[in-house]
Structures are given as structure tokens and as C-alpha cells.
């Protein structure tokens, strides 16, 4: 069965609701006042009606006596004054009886009034007849008619008195009814006033609460949002169109703000990551510039020196001094290798060749004090072709020489072992020198180690490239984007620096071959 809805308050606008409420409330107050007014008016009408209903009859009753007196006076005295008075009073009486007849109702009292009025007319006719007969000096006739008017006057008087007597009884009863009615109205009016006041006040309070409830609820949600609690579900409010819209929009706003805040947080996180990356890059650039600076400090003019050494080697070759020639060639190779810059990559083969040249210089210089042992499979193209930052191995060899066997009078052996293991390039630089403490190993790997050989050039006698272990380690970590690129172990009198590098590395610096210069 379809439910017929008179009006749907949920679809009403706030303005309509307010207007409707105030209209209804005002109407109740107005109608209550109207009821009070009407009840008092009705009491007044009933009282007036009770008092006024026999005014005309009383008037006619009084006139009748006057007419009869006038008639008797005229018939006995024939005075013109009494005749004039008779005509005046009879006209008034006639008018009264006409008024009574015009207002009759077909009720018991109404019909009695009608009878009285007709009797008055009949009486007046007889009285006029008597006057006429008197003026016509017909004594017998006017006497007889007068007798009849006396009887008739008595009858009418009795009849009217009977009606008025009944009216008095009726009025008593009527007054009783009016009194009861007045008491009843008084009670009803008092109850109505109290009820209306209390009801309207109650309705106003209830309506105010109902109207403001969704706003208060919404304000509560707003406070929670203001305090940062976005995990709220805004329910659908059905109280009015505006509230539906407001709740819907507020709900959407909460969702949007939540998304916006999330986006901001994500952006912040990304920016932080970016900042960290930038910082890393800056550090890397700083390391490179530091390396370049140190290289520049150690190589005042590498091209000039390289050319000078190269020419020196050619001169030595022309003069037949092959030892000097080879020495200078190796030195020139090292300079040439350095000329490519530290921000370029080199193959493992190039790095190994550079180390071999470097070791030749050291062995030539220190004869048999330094022994160099190279283990490598040069036929493994993949291993030999893997790239790594330029000047990675030479500082490690240099470190093995300075800090390893450099502190021993009898010298020692520096080993370089390159092999492929588990898809990785394992490059091991070892020495049998004085060793390294665990604390230093930890400092080197954690990046807090300060290489004295790079800072205090004088103590090393000028046979370093100026690049420290920390520089090598940082560049390797940046290049391969991984931290575990180096391990340092001391076992069996041997100190081993092992680089474990990927054979293939996509992100890399520009590879510049040594022959490019």
C-alpha cells in the first residue's frame, strides 16, 4: 500500500521550516485568543439577548395602559387633549405591535407574542371604533364597544403578564445556563491559556533544539577536524535540504582535506628523500673535488710532466738506457692514466695495468724490498671489462705499501688477486706488512678514518697519489650505490682489502679509455 505523505519535512528548506513553525505557533496563539474573545462575546450576547428580548413587549404593555387611559378620558370628557394623546399612544402601540409581529418566531413564546400583537391590533381597532362612535354621538354603540375594549384590555394585559411571567421564569433558567456557561468558559479559558503558553514554549524549545542539532553536530565534527582528526565519517543529515547539502559538502571537504594532507605528507617525504639524495650528491661532488684538488696539488701540470717524462723516456731509449726508458714509460703511463680525471670510470684491466705500472716504479725504486704478486686471468673479458671508478686499485696498493710493508725494514710482498666469483668481481689487495688494527678497520669502513698519508705528504716521502682509502671507499659506494663494496681482514700475517664489485653496472660514469688522451 502506497503511503501518502502530507509533507516531507526532510525536503523542506530551512526558511520554509521556520516560516511554517512560526505560522503554526502564531496561529495557535491567535486562535486561542480568538477562542477567549468569542467565549466572552457569547456570554455577552446571551446576557444581552436575555435582557433585551422582552423590551418591546414591556413597551407595548406600558402603551396599552396609556391608550386605555386616554380612551377612557376621552370617552368621559371628550377633551381634544386626550384625543390627541390617544392617537399618539395608539400609533405608538400600533408600531410596537407591528414590531412584535415582525420579529416573531414559530416557537411557543413567539406564537404567544404573535397572539398578543394580534390582540393589540384587535383592541386598537375596537378603541378607534369607540372613538368614532363617540364622535358620532352614538352613545349605545361606543358604550358597548368600550365595554368590549375593557374586557379585551384586561385579557391582553393578563396575556402579556403571563408571557412576561414566563419570560422571568425563562430568564431565571437562562441566567442559570449563562452562569454555568460562564464558569465552564472560565475553566476552559484558564486551561487553554496555561496549555497554550506551556505548549508553545515547549514547542519553541523543541524546535530550537531540533533546528540547531545538526549544526551542533557539524560544529563537533569541525572541532575534531581542527584538532587534526580526519578519521571521521560524516553521516548524511536528512533534516533539511540545506543541511543535506552542508553535510554532503562538509563530508567532501573532509575527504579532500585528508587527501590534500596526505599529498603534502607524501611530497614532504619525497622532498626529504630528494634532499638526502642531493646531500649525497653534494658529498660525492665534494669528494671528487677534494680528489681533484689533491691530484692537482700533487700534479702541478700533469700534461707537462707527462710530456717531459715521455720525452725523457724517448731520450733514454735513443741513448740505449732501456732501464731508464722503461721506468719513465711506466711513470708516463701513470700520469697519462691520471689525466683522464677521477670522475670517469675505467675498466678493471686498465686499473690493473695502472697498478702494474705503479708497482714497477716502486720495485725499480726499492729493488727487491718490495715484491709484487699478481694473480689474474686476463683472458676473462667479462671480468677485465667490468668498470669501476678510476684510480680505485692504485690507492689500495699504495696503502699496502705505505701502511703495510713500508714500516718493515726487510720489505714485503704486495699481492693483487682478481677473480670472478658468484657473478661478482673479487679484487683482493694483500700485504704481509705490519697489519691493521680492528679499530682502524672499523673506522675505514664507517668512513671516519683520516688517512695520515693523504694529509701529511711529507711523511710519505712523496710517493703517494694523494688519494686516501676513505676517498676510494666513498667513490665506490656512490658509483655502485651500495655500501658493502669493501671488506678488510687481517689473518695469517696478511692484511686483505677485498673489493666485491658487480660485473655489470648500468649506471656509471663515462668510461674514458687511457688511449683517449
Amino acid at each position: 500500500m502506497r503511503k501518502i505523505k502530507l509533507f516531507e519535512t526532510r525536503k523542506m528548506k530551512y526558511r520554509t521550516k521556520l516560516i511554517l513553525f512560526f505560522l503554526l505557533s502564531t496561529s495557535i496563539v491567535i486562535l486561542s485568543s480568538l477562542y477567549l474573545y468569542l467565549s466572552s462575546q457569547i456570554i455577552m450576547w446571551n446576557t444581552n439577548e436575555m435582557l433585551e428580548k422582552n423590551l418591546e413587549l414591556s413597551e407595548a404593555y406600558s402603551r396599552l395602559q396609556e391608550v386605555q387611559n386616554d380612551l377612557e378620558l376621552y370617552l368621559s370628557t371628550s377633551s381634544s387633549d386626550s384625543l390627541i394623546a390617544f392617537y399618539g399612544d395608539s400609533t405608538a402601540l400600533n408600531k410596537s405591535s407591528d414590531t412584535l409581529l415582525s420579529n416573531i418566531s414559530y416557537s411557543e413564546r413567539g406564537m404567544k407574542i404573535k397572539n398578543a400583537a394580534n390582540m393589540l391590533h384587535d383592541y386598537l381597532n375596537n378603541a378607534n371604533d369607540a372613538i368614532e362612535k363617540k364622535r358620532g354621538r352614538n352613545i349605545t354603540a361606543y358604550t358597548a364597544i368600550y365595554e368590549e375594549t375593557v374586557t379585551e384590555c384586561d385579557d391582553i394585559t393578563n396575556y402579556m403578564e403571563e408571557i412576561m411571567s414566563r419570560d422571568v421564569i425563562s430568564n431565571s433558567s437562562q441566567f442559570g445556563k449563562i452562569s454555568v456557561q460562564q464558569q465552564k468558559f472560565s475553566i476552559i479559558n484558564n486551561i487553554l491559556i496555561v496549555f497554550t503558553v506551556l505548549f508553545v514554549i515547549g514547542m519553541i524549545a523543541l524546535f530550537s533544539f531540533e533546528v540547531t542539532k545538526p549544526i551542533t553536530t557539524l560544529a563537533g565534527f569541525a572541532r575534531r577536524i581542527a584538532s587534526g582528526d580526519f578519521n571521521i565519517k560524516i553521516p548524511q543529515d536528512q533534516t533539511s535540504q540545506e543541511m543535506q547539502t552542508l553535510y554532503h559538502v562538509f563530508g567532501s571537504m573532509v575527504v579532500n582535506i585528508k587527501e590534500y594532507v596526505n599529498q603534502i605528507q607524501e611530497k614532504r617525504r619525497l622532498e626529504q628523500t630528494l634532499s638526502e639524495e642531493k646531500l649525497t650528491n653534494l658529498r660525492m661532488k665534494n669528494a671528487l673535488r677534494e680528489s681533484e684538488l689533491k691530484a692537482l696539488q700533487s700534479q702541478v701540470n700533469p700534461h707537462f710532466i707527462f710530456n717531459t717524462i715521455n720525452i725523457g723516456s724517448k731520450i733514454a731509449m735513443l741513448q740505449g738506457d732501456h732501464t731508464t726508458c722503461r721506468y719513465l714509460e711506466n711513470a708516463a703511463d701513470i700520469f697519462r692514466y691520471n689525466l683522464n680525471g677521477l670522475d670517469t670510470a675505467a675498466t678493471l684491466e686498465e686499473e690493473v695495468s695502472n697498478v702494474v705500472s705503479y708497482m714497477y716504479l716502486l720495485q725499480t725504486r726499492f729493488s727487491d724490498m718490495i715484491r709484487f704478486k699478481l694473480v689474474i686471468d686476463r683472458s676473462d673479458k667479462e671480468l677485465m671489462g667490468c668498470t669501476l671508478p678510476r684510480m680505485t686499485l692504485q690507492p689500495l696498493i699504495e696503502n699496502a705499501y705505505i701502511h703495510g710493508i713500508g714500516c718493515r725494514e726487510e720489505g714485503g710482498t704486495i699481492g693483487l688477486k682478481v677473480e670472478k666469483r658468484d657473478g661478482m668481481a673479487w679484487i683482493e689487495v694483500s700485504d704481509d706488512g705490519c697489519g691493521i688494527s680492528e679499530e682502524k678497520i672499523h673506522e675505514i669502513l664507517s668512513g671516519s678514518f683520516q688517512d695520515e698519508s693523504t694529509d701529511e705528504r711529507s711523511t710519505t716521502g712523496g710517493h703517494t697519489t694523494g688519494l686516501g682509502l676513505d676517498n676510494v671507499l666513498q667513490r665506490l659506494r656512490i658509483y655502485f650505490n651500495k655500501t658493502d663494496v669493501m671488506s678488510i681482514k687481517r689473518a695469517g700475517g696478511m692484511t686483505r682489502f677485498t673489493l666485491i664489485l658487480p660485473l655489470r653496472h648500468e649506471k656509471g660514469w663515462v668510461h674514458v679509455s687511457s688511449t683517449d688522451r
Binding site: 509533507f7 519535512t9 521550516k17 511554517l20 513553525f21 503554526l24 505557533s25 496561529s27 495557535i28 486562535l31 486561542s32 480568538l34 477562542y35 468569542l38 467565549s39 457569547i42 450576547w45 446571551n46 439577548e49 436575555m50 428580548k53 418566531s105 414559530y106 416557537s107 411557543e108 413564546r109 413567539g110 406564537m111 404567544k112 404573535k114 397572539n115 398578543a116 394580534n118 390582540m119 391590533h121 384587535d122 383592541y123 374586557t151 379585551e152 385579557d155 391582553i156 393578563n158 396575556y159 425563562s170 433558567s173 437562562q174 445556563k177 449563562i178 456557561q181 476552559i188 487553554l192 505548549f199 514547542m203 523543541l206 524546535f207 531540533e210 533534516t239
Partner: protein, 330 residues
């Protein structure tokens, strides 16, 4: 929210209903309310100011006839058995210029003068229960007094088994012209007893118009006539009073009563066997026909000079049925 509006609307409606009720019922009836229809004629019926069953039933019949014919029927109550009041009431009615008057003529001479005046004013006249005070050119409606007496006599014979001593109580003064109708009733009774030599009328009494006369008279009859077998009464109001005296004197079953009228007390005594029976005029139809015949005259048609109405003989065999009929008429 919806509840608030419904509450407001409900209270508003309630106050509106209260206001409507106030406007409809607030005005007290001043005893002068307008009738719905304007009546065709105004008829005055001069009746006795008595609570007797006859008059209440008579008025009921007249009022119903008035309603049916859309005629205003005004009842003018006069003192019972007051000749002067009757004449004054008739006189007032004539002066009032009503359309029709139904009355009982008690003084033919004085009444005829008023009848002439009324006829001059073209007022329709009719008498009822008035078969002995006959007025020239005035039709009458009612039961026949002789029939009443005769049927009462016949019922009395049945009551006493065709033999016994009878006391007759007539209402009002029996002597003179005023008691013509009562004489006719008496004549009817005598005629009824004429064939029964064993029934002897011991005494004929007349009731005065005063109160408490019945008890006094009946006590006196029982004292003077201890061997009385039957009492016949032609007065409606006196019938239950006579029965009460018999009960008080422990004469129930010793003295039979045949009364007049159908007052509830009378019917009750019949039912209990105190009163043997009662002769009752059809008061309802007398009243009804009064108005109906006057309306016929006013409509310009002629009617019969004398219209007789029924008489009912009520005894133990039919009293219950009569009570039912009577209640329906009321």
C-alpha cells in the same frame, strides 16, 4: 521535526474544533428558537391543565397531526372544570386572530357569542369530547358519552357476574345542563343494566373538583354500603384512587371496579386484578383528528359535523397489549 509540526497542527485543529463548537453550541437556547419551517396555520387547542393520561395522549396526537400537516399547534391549558377560564381562553384565542381553535364548550350560551365573533373573523372552530354541549355550525370530534356509559355498564355486568349491588361515581356535578354528557354516560349504564334485574344500582355519587375527594367518597361508600359488589367510575383520575381505597380496606376481590381512562396506575391495577377493567377513549386520535379536521376546514373543505372516535375496553386479557400500544403512541 515532523512530530513538532504534527503536534502544532493537531493543537491548531483542536482549537479550531473548539471554536466551531463554541460558535455552534455557545449560544444558549433562549426558549425562542426558530422552527425550521414556517407553519401553514396557527391552531390553538384549549386543553385542561391536568397530567391525566387522556390529556397527555390527546396532546401527543394533536402535536403529531400538527407536525404532519406543518401546522403550529398551540396548547392553551386552563384550570380543570373552570368555566370562566375556558371562556376567557376562547375569548383570547378569538382576539389573537389565530387560524383555528379546538375547544370544549362548557357554557353553550356564552360560548356561542364568542363562536359568532370567531366566525366573523373567519377562525375555524371545532369542539372535542363535547357531544352534549352541542354548538350550532361547530363540528365535534370525540367519543360518544352514551357509548362510554353503556360499555362501562356491560363490563360491570361481566365483573359482578350479572348480579350485585352497584355504586356509580360520576365526575363533576350531575345535575343541570352542565352534566349533560355525564347524564348520557349514566343513561348508557342504566341501559346496560336494564336487561339484568339482578343488578341493582344502589347509589349514584358525584365527584367534586377538589383534591382528595375520591378517597373520602369511596371510604364513605364502603361505610354506607358495606355489601356493595361493583363500583363504576367515569372519572379517569379517580379510578386508581378508588382502587387504592379498596386495597387499603382489604376489599380486593370483594368489590369489583370498572373505571375510566388508561392512566398507567389504572393499567397497573388491572394487571394486578384490583380493577376489573376500564373504558378508555382513543385520546390520541381525538387530538389527532382535532387538528386534522381543523386543517381540512382551513384548506376550504367541508367536514362532517360529528366525528366519533374509538373506545377501548381494557381488562386483564388485553391490558399488556394496550400498555405497549400506549407506549408507542407516547
Amino acid at each position: 521535526m515532523k512530530g513538532i509540526y504534527f503536534s502544532l497542527a493537531a493543537v491548531l485543529t483542536a482549537i479550531l474544533v473548539m471554536i466551531c463548537g463554541l460558535l455552534i453550541t455557545g449560544r444558549t437556547d433562549a426558549g425562542d428558537s426558530q422552527k425550521e419551517q414556517i407553519p401553514r396555520y396557527h391552531i390553538q387547542v384549549i386543553t385542561k391543565n391536568a397530567n391525566e393520561h387522556f390529556w397527555t395522549t390527546f396532546k401527543s396526537g394533536a402535536a403529531n397531526a400538527g407536525k404532519q400537516a406543518n401546522v403550529y399547534v398551540e396548547f392553551v391549558n386552563i384550570a380543570a372544570d373552570s368555566l370562566n377560564s375556558s371562556l376567557i381562553a376562547l375569548e383570547k384565542a378569538v382576539y389573537s386572530g389565530v387560524d383555528g381553535i379546538a375547544f370544549q364548550a362548557q357554557d353553550v350560551e356564552k360560548t356561542e357569542a364568542l363562536v359568532k365573533k370567531a366566525q366573523d373573523k373567519k377562525i375555524a372552530l371545532l369542539t372535542y369530547e363535547n357531544d352534549q354541549n352541542y354548538l350550532t355550525d361547530v363540528p365535534t370530534v370525540g367519543s360518544n358519552s352514551y357509548d362510554i356509559g353503556f360499555r362501562e355498564g356491560k363490563m360491570g355486568i361481566r365483573a359482578c357476574g350479572g348480579k350485585g349491588r352497584v355504586a356509580i361515581i360520576l365526575n363533576g356535578n350531575v345535575s343541570g345542563a352542565k352534566g349533560q354528557n355525564k347524564n348520557l354516560k349514566l343513561q348508557g349504564m342504566i341501559d346496560a343494566f336494564s336487561n339484568y334485574s339482578t343488578v341493582k344500582v344502589q347509589e349514584i355519587y358525584s365527584l367534586g373538583s377538589g383534591m382528595f375527594k375520591t378517597e373520602k367518597l369511596m371510604s364513605m361508600i364502603l361505610a354506607k354500603q358495606p355489601k356493595i359488589d361493583l363500583v363504576l367510575c367515569t372519572d379517569e383520575r379517580s379510578t386508581p384512587g378508588i382502587a387504592q381505597v379498596l386495597v387499603d380496606e382489604n376489599k380486593v376481590g370483594v368489590v369489583s371496579i370498572v373505571g375510566y381512562g388508561a392512566m398507567p396506575q389504572t393499567l397497573n391495577y388491572i394487571e394486578r386484578g384490583v380493577i376489573y377493567g376500564s373504558i378508555c377513549p382513543d385520546a390520541y386520535h381525538i387530538g389527532y383528528n382535532c387538528v386534522k379536521q381543523l386543517v381540512t376546514i382551513l384548506d376550504g373543505e367541508r367536514i362532517s359535523d360529528s366525528i366519533n372516535t374509538d373506545l377501548f375496553s381494557i381488562d386483564l386479557s388485553n391490558v399488556e397489549q394496550y400498555q405497549v400500544i400506549d407506549n408507542e403512541k407516547d
